[in-house]
Symmetry: C2
Subunit: 337 residues, 2 copies
DNA sequence: GTGAAAGCGCTAACAT
DNA sequence: ATGTTAGCGCTTTCAC
């Protein structure tokens, strides 16, 4: 039972392949109604399904894009990916998502893999370590958009959030609520967004003339966070508020809180930089700095498709504002547990 | 600047296309060392990247599979998809994920789309409404695996969980803790797993000779759940325990709880059928019936790849057991809030 | 050991 | 209004 091809349809309908091709591509300008009907019937009878691979080979476009996420464990990455996929589907494109797992080697492998598959463009949450590869794509004018991290020296459209300002705003809010001893917990300061978040934190303290205490600043691998938290909370001056630099750090903080029976928010106020699902319906009540994932993803996809369609190129930096979502338990005490 | 093709490499290296092809496919059995080196150098010099689309056309395989998820809003669907993708990547395959959004029309569209793209096989969380299409694929012997829902009359390898038994176990547990007034909330009973969950609930009540009260059983569209919950909780005999049939129902329940200041678990014990992220670190403390998403995804992928490689076919039903994860707050009172 | 040639299923000039 | 033809970039017999 051989695969049904366009030639079979053509023969069945008594026309040529090109006519069938016209039909399939809905170019029926000069096509007889009966011809149309014959082709339609032949397709139906044979159960013909077009082969997009063959078409792609000829047309040199696959209607697929690749998304390379630095680390899919971050909630916001999956949210942005989803937004990109949705936008793509609306425009008859498909997306292949790959997880670089914060590994530049994997990132490179996936970029090459996806390009070998002839994806029409790439949206990358860059690890930042493959500068030469990025530059090469830029030089080739290959359609690409960066998300989450700006890479210096690579001129590519880039989507980021206002990490510094948003953190500044959140810390200022804590200070205005009376907090003076504010800790911050992040993964290692190896990438730009994390550095900016810490910078925003420091700036806010400075603006209120509060001394920056290095012992309140934890920046270490996820697996070490728990032990360092223990150290901080045995200091004579325990923090009364804490900023988690991203969701993964937050989970460590939560584990610490649960294990050590810290009361939220009486003993400790918490602000998290990242989208925490169900933060609004769950306790402890935590304030979050939400990234506009949907808008970011949509913009990234939009820019990429424009590049693919040669409508524009450019290499601008698009900075999206985060939203501080303040949740304070106030009157909710003793409702839950 | 034309794209570099294999012919260019061949010319540059002073060999023929077929030799280059051999080289790329690592078939160097009878290949001179100097030939190898010449080709390697030419590839490097020209920056050649193979075109997998052309290869796919010739080989009639794309090393891609499609995943069609009934509704990506369910946490467990994304977990299973992730597991499938991981398994695929380990086997040099890629996956394209599509969200049917519980819409049979979209499901059909995606199935046809993915097959036109020549994916080597499909993993489908079936809506259940495209029986003819499923049967056709079965007849064509097209590699396919169903996940989450068994479709009667379609003989395809299928991965499900023990919905009925797991719910039975959870409800039994509630009864053993002294509950007699147990409600259940699910989306409409249109698909098999939901029906089975309700059946497990009923069976458990029967086993303990507890009367089944229709007024405790809410099965309605997500958007109506809230209002029906209000009705239930104004009954003279309020439930003391509640089973949420899936994660989306649970979120509605949580909203209700928050709005109406119901105390968990004093006023109401809650069990959720589904994987709720952070259930372990968050309050209120809820018991969950966890589906083994990783194992399910892995098995689905494994079965599909075997079909693709013609190692086996079969159309078995694989039932995975869920795990009841009991979380009771006990001594944790007043630690949080 | 390496090359020549045919062909995968489709599209797009160009002819008619 | 439809047909002819020449590829797209690769793999794969089968010769040499």
């Amino acid at each position: 039972m051989r695969r049904v091809t366009m030639a079979d349809v053509a023969k069945e309908a008594g026309v040529s392949k090109s006519t069938v091709s016209q039909f399939l591509n809905k170019r029926y300008e000069h096509m007889g109604d009966e011809t149309k009907e014959k082709i339609r019937a032949a397709i139906e009878k044979l159960g013909y399904r077009p082969n997009y691979i063959a078409r792609s080979l000829k047309q040199k476009r696959t209607a697929m894009i690749g998304i390379i996420v630095a680390n899919i464990m971050h909630r916001v990455s999956t949210e942005i990916s989803r937004a990109i996929e949705d936008y793509c589907h609306e425009h008859d494109m498909h997306a292949i998502v790959c997880n670089a797992d914060d590994d530049p080697v994997k990132e490179r492998k996936y970029i090459e893999m996806l390009r070998a598959r002839q994806v029409d463009g790439l949206i990358v949450f860059p690890t930042g370590e493959n500068i030469e590869l990025y530059k090469q794509m830029e030089k080739e004018n290959y359609p690409i958009v960066f998300v989450d991290r700006k890479i210096d020296g690579v001129n590519v459209n880039t989507i980021v959030v206002n990490n510094k300002e948003a953190t500044h705003q959140a810390v200022s809010h804590l200070i205005q609520k009376g907090h003076r001893k504010i800790a911050i917990v992040t993964p290692p300061l190896t990438i730009y967004p994390r550095i900016e978040r810490v910078n925003g934190y420091k700036q806010a303290l400075r603006d209120y003339s509060i001394k920056i205490k290095p012992e309140y600043m934890i920046s270490t691998d996820i697996k070490n966070i728990l032990s360092q938290l223990k150290t901080v909370f045995t200091l004579p001056e325990k923090p009364t508020a804490l900023v988690a630099g991203n969701d993964l750090s937050f989970f460590e903080v939560m584990t610490f809180i649960k294990e050590n029976r810290v009361c939220i928010p009486q003993d400790l106020a918490i602000v998290v930089f990242d989208n925490i699902p169900f933060a609004n319906i769950s306790n402890p009540t935590i304030t979050t700095i939400a990234q506009p994932a949907y808008e970011m993803g949509k913009k990234a996809a939009e820019l990429l498709l424009k590049q693919i369609n040669k409508e524009r190129v450019g290499s601008e930096l698009y900075t999206f504002p985060c939203k501080l979502i303040i949740r304070e338990s106030s009157s909710e005490k003793n409702i839950i547990n």
